[in-house]
Assembly symmetry: D2
Homo-oligomer: 480 residues x 4
């Protein structure tokens, strides 16, 4: 539960290539609704009616932005592209919503992506040096420039995408909709998921399989790391010239981001989380009377821990269903209440019991400490916290939004210190070795850089990043 | 899950008597937020600032109706009264929102209630014969008239409430706020819950204890069936002249309505639901590989069934968190999808398994049949449905809104016929005997009229009800 | 212009009796839109479909409250009743919106009125002593009680209205819609206008003829002071038992309230205002170069002044068309700007000219002083202010909302003092004698109590008014 | 009145360069509110706080888009740029709102403009050939590209603007806000107005002087055709290298677009319109009893006609103040009513009179015909229509949005035919010669191309325009 404020996925994407006048807008709407957990800040849909591209995007949740009138206004088409974007408190801005729709010398195109470029500043500067203009600070606008420039010499839009991939560094699962083609690609590491499905004659690209399920489509396969897949009226074609191995998927997709009913690289996410709980029980056993999970993210691992340990599983909390809607701030009532409004302990589950409490992470520790206090007040005799992932210690450069190091409790305290600070009788984390095994039958490798500090690809060039920021925020001198 | 459209609680109420300028409005807001599951149609708050009563009420959820500006506009006070009302599709109307605030010869008062009068039409006619006017068809307006007329001869508002209780038939948990007093009472059967709590010097009345928890208040005790409790500046006084036994609480509060973390008559609701699952396992055993529950209502009983049977508990479904917000209708895409959007099967849990599926009711059977089909499509080898309550067969006259008999599948088919129709390998319901034992340590008795057709109090006089309806909907003739 | 904040009409009403399924709702919508100048706070429409009365009312302007969906939702009917209510800054409340719809022993009815009772408190107390309840402090609720009680012994609803008129004191133009009849009546003084029109077979009652024009209906005649007119399927009947002379219409209807295109008692309002300007020129001549009016209310009198005096008429100001929508407060920028935003001087009209400035009133004088300063800054050599009504000196008890005496500049200063204070070279008001002649061909007499202090009917009993207020706002003692 | 649907100005702009933390946002808000008549579709404000540029823009009127919260959120700054854009029914789109804010190699800038490029397609294609991307089809985006590319070799932003002016063809009044400078320029023809004002130390650029008045600023002078003016911390500098004569201002600014209280090139707009009425009387005399104008646009010319002819001026119509808000369509009631809702005849002004009716244009003729019918029904004996401008016969390429030729009645009928069709006794237009004299003391020349078909600058290259449209709306073939 507590992660929602501190760790965030960047985005979810969905594209469908279908027949003239098929219901691609309704399918995209439903799919974005299923992908809503990947981004709650903004959303958008672009629809392609034989080359004429219309779109709508705004801040807000999918069902709030896409009212009946808006959906009707988008009309019919033969292709559609959709996007949901994460909620960032400070920088809510309509100008970051996707898909973006641009016009270039060879026509128009819409783009939507999930990921994070590490050479965004360099690519931006290169474009600007030849007179390019940017309307936002987003990576997707940089990508659209790189593809557009490549398009000047490429024979086709898919060749332009391939040329662009030679220049783009970092993580990207990208879908490009041209007047007549839908093109999906993943960076060669395959940091972010992207799969292909089908329904009747429609070809579908989606961040997760739950989006396919929501419209009754079937999974065809994953897009491979480095692969470019083109869907057009002639069918589906693949370009694997940038492929180089099984890739390094962000392991946090299995730990936290993806929806439990999704299947990634052949492994069900819910199952991987239960397995994390099982390994956790093996590595950090304890004598106790009940295992409970923090809703919703800690529940599957709690079930796995209970199964492996033989300690009964119990429902420890009631989570308010209307949680996202309130604006009451901690300062308005006592601070302690801010957790209670969202999460109430079910006393009969924990009174006079030795409780194993499972969650998937401890970020700042404050929410965690409050939850533990609630358990104590409700009569728990002992509280043993078990975390179904290793401690966060390092930044992510590939699309996971983690709190800054000075806020991460694991960067500031040892495990016994954390245990004392949050008020538990014992504390155990899953080992890095085990987290890499929770989806061991997966067809992909994993990036666990946020746990280990070892990354499968270089991070960003700081110098360039700094330069860009300076230009935006500083007063221009006479060189102007 | 499927009950939300077909079975509904009437309302939730909350009142707080405090000190001048205490934060009674914020407390009422938070408490209504915790009671939101008892009513999603409309809500309202009345605040009493030394006898001056202001209020706001509207259609919508608590966090949508009570924006920061509205809450600020309500100001401070020493007492507040709040209400949430159920969602009825046809008759959404602002004029039914509570609390109502009225002025009479001795001053003003605000009223909020949960329940259903069985002699509403007679009381209304009696008032009209002496010239009374009604602005709505609601019971609460009838109650306000009965109390007001009693007040003409009573020495105090609480005596007027007592006089009124001699006339009111049916179910009512009622809180009345006068300029200087907060008065709570329950009908002598105590059909609907009502408890008393305290926080610092504040005295609180609430439908459920979860509302107390949400503001950090402590439970003092239940209001007894037939009891009148008065909170004013001199403290708390009780009048038990209408008390007559331990009452007959609606058993459906334990089965479905109340929030799992609430405690009613000394019994935790979550625990009662798990116990329902245990009895269900004892009464309806089956050989199977996994027990799953339909979220959210079937989960606790599924856990109980798993514990008692020894069959592993699993998480069978992912429920979309944004479920309440969408407007997509079954007609817009295939009908089958309407369930899939809200609920997706976690295939790894059920594939090639013999599945026990638990829910707390089968109303029309259509949603249930679709869920079962999803399980089959996901590879479940066998599906054994177990329902943690007896079949609905009879109307409720005391505040539960049940679908009409012609829609209730249990009124039309035998259990084997239902099993065949919804597509399960076996079907079992909890017996009436067992449902009455799920909260057997409770200090109260139970009404199970909707299961048995035997009611602890008379139903409404149909003749009068008809007369009233006729007057509203028929053309008036020359007698006018 | 400046009157909008300080002097307000109470309301506008409209009722139509037609055929089954005629478009009475659309007609009422258009008519209220035409009557919007009589009230901008709230509005409402009640529609009667063969005795079943539905309604919608809310705070806001007619086109904002009645969206397409709301209008469609009201459906069809054979009668409809509409109301607009004035904008009061302090006490905006949905509970004062009209029409009100009530149910009583003989059926239901909707009521809408324009006026002000002077014995409201006594009638309320009388009702309360027999157990009545009030949901608001409005006169219309009192009227509904008086009619309902009369209905207990009356043979018909129109007889009940007649009985009620024996008890009601003050001003009222009232329309009552019963299941099968539409009944209009005016108080015996006829303080507020009310006319009857027809279109095809529809019988229409409206505050002003501009509402008839807006739907293409024809004026039949005025409702006489004291008259009751009943429209039902048998046609139109009149009861003149309370009639007693030609009445005393509020002269301010001609001076300010009514729309210029309306005709009241046979006199066009625009013409009356021009005539006011003509008398003003005769009574207060001055040598000057141009006559200008403060938009919109001063324009007709300016034209009359110009005609009579022979001084050219000019357009002195540009009024911002979007004036009602802004929220910028005087404190946010310099105070002087608050007028400039709404009204800009057209410099070429006034530079180096001797200007006659016409408005219909000076209330507090502050806005007026600012306008005059703008004229000076724009180069006016002299400014001679002429007011097309006598000075306000007295309260109105019959439905005009005037600022309190301590704010009325004419109660605090002599005319030369006012002239000096607002900064004009000379100042003249229309005499009482002349204002009573501006509509001298009218079929009615006039009330000019706000100018003279002499009223054609008694004002309210203060004692009772006080008592009521005390009960609402004071803390109740032990007598409760 | 009838012009609002058929002839539209493109836009209004406003920029202010001030001191750190001065209230530039509030000033821009008020100024846009005063310029609202130049565009009701969308509006926007960009604020510059020492080089950091924030902005907000949306569809809607100024007071609706800029709520208190939005204005507060924009914060303080030392410069601000604002824009209002015209209302087009078909193509309402947020993506056309201005100002636009872009980032380029030398920093960021905001741009707002009023006008219409004639070589937009060529400039766009040139940019695209070197890899440029466009996010919309707007001229302002093309301008931002041209300036950005010029900036690569220019020594300063103002030099880049000067280089850009070598390439831009057509009409443009443009304001560019760089991190430290506010730059205003007009095309060498000066088709659209732009003036400079000051208030305290603030330098202001605005489309019309009414915007200066609204914030209490003084007019300094017009920006000359072809001039570039730069305001920065060192003061104001002018570059006249593109100046070439007194220019050709769109005469329709005087006839219709500008607010009557504005002064353009030394001439007050209201005065010019009165003079149009005077010439109209000289050229088209008639014997009549009263002169009336169609509100609001026909009023000043009616006054001029009355003065010159000696026929009395009268107020012939009441215009509903809430006119913009309703959605009632002609189809919902009789077509004839659609005018009556907005405009009602004041019968006493016209009954039994010979009426001269003045308006500033006849576009399609349908609204005009309906108004004339209303006058006849109200008893006008004769109706003589006089139009205070020549007939529209030709398209405008420089920023006026005129209905297409097939809809222009003057392109299809002779004047006598029009007179017969709209139902008047006589019809006269102002001559081209006279319209060019209504502002004869102005310091500028005039474009009257829409009346004469003779333009002071070339129109657009159709070929290029066509090519661009094709690319957006046609299906791309295999060349893609």
């Amino acid at each position: 539960m507590q992660n929602s404020d501190f760790i965030r996925e960047e985005c979810g994407i969905f594209g469908v290539h279908g027949q003239k006048n098929s219901d691609v807008v309704a399918q995209t709407y439903l799919a974005l609704y299923a992908l809503q957990h990947r981004g709650q800040e903004s959303c958008g849909i672009a629809v392609n009616d034989d080359g004429v591209i219309g779109y709508h995007r705004d801040l807000g949740l999918v069902p709030d932005v896409f009212t009946r009138d808006i959906l009707t206004g988008l009309g019919k088409g033969n292709m559609a592209l959709g996007h949901v974007r994460y909620a960032s408190k400070g920088s809510k801005s309509r100008s970051h919503a996707q898909p973006i729709v641009v016009r270039h010398i060879k026509g128009n195109m819409a783009l939507a992506f999930n990921g994070c470029l590490t050479n965004s500043a360099e690519l931006r500067e290169e474009a600007e040096l030849s007179g390019a203009i940017f309307h936002s600070a987003s990576d997707i606008e940089v990508i659209s420039h790189v593809i557009t420039r490549a398009r000047l010499t490429a024979r086709s839009i898919e060749e332009a995408v391939s040329f662009a991939m030679d220049k783009l560094k970092g993580s990207y699962s990208l879908v490009v909709m041209s007047p007549s083609k839908m093109i999906a690609c993943r960076d060669p590491n395959g940091f972010r998921p992207l799969c292909m499905g089908c329904k009747d004659d429609n070809i579908i690209f989606a961040s997760e399989t739950c989006a396919l399920d929501s419209i009754g489509a079937s999974l065809v396969r994953e897009i491979e790391p480095g692969e470019i897949v083109v869907a057009d009226k002639n069918g589906v074609n693949s370009n694997r010239s940038h492929c180089a191995g099984k890739g390094t998927l962000c392991v946090f997709e299995f730990v936290y981001f993806a929806r439990p009913d999704s299947v990634i690289s052949g492994v069900n996410v819910q199952e991987a989380r239960q397995r994390a709980g099982e390994y956790l029980a093996l590595e950090n056993p304890v004598e106790a009377d009940v295992v409970i999970g923090v809703p919703d993210s800690g529940i599957p691992a709690a079930l796995g821990y209970a199964r492996e340990s033989g300690i009964p599983y119990g429902i420890g909390f009631l989570k308010n269903r209307y949680i996202d809607r309130t604006f009451i701030q901690p300062t308005q009532l006592e601070r302690e209440l801010s957790v209670k409004i969202k999460l109430n302990v079910i006393e009969s589950t924990v009174r006079n019991k030795r409780v194993v409490l499972i969650d998937d992470s401890i970020v700042r520790g404050t929410t965690c400490a409050r939850i533990i206090r609630l358990l104590r007040e409700a009569g728990a005799k002992e509280v043993h916290m078990r975390v179904s992932a290793p401690p966060f210690m390092h930044p992510c450069y590939f699309g996971t939004n983690i709190d800054s190091r000075e806020n991460l409790i694991a960067c500031k305290m040892s495990i016994p210190e954390i245990a004392k600070w949050i008020g538990v009788d014992s504390l155990g984390y899953l080992s890095v070795g085990s987290v890499l095994k929770i989806a061991e039958n997966a067809s992909c490798g994993f990036c666990a850089g946020c746990f280990t500090g070892e990354y499968p690809a270089p991070g960003p060039s700081m110098k360039a990043g700094t330069k860009f920021d300076r230009r935006i925020s500083e007063k221009a001198g006479e060189e102007e």
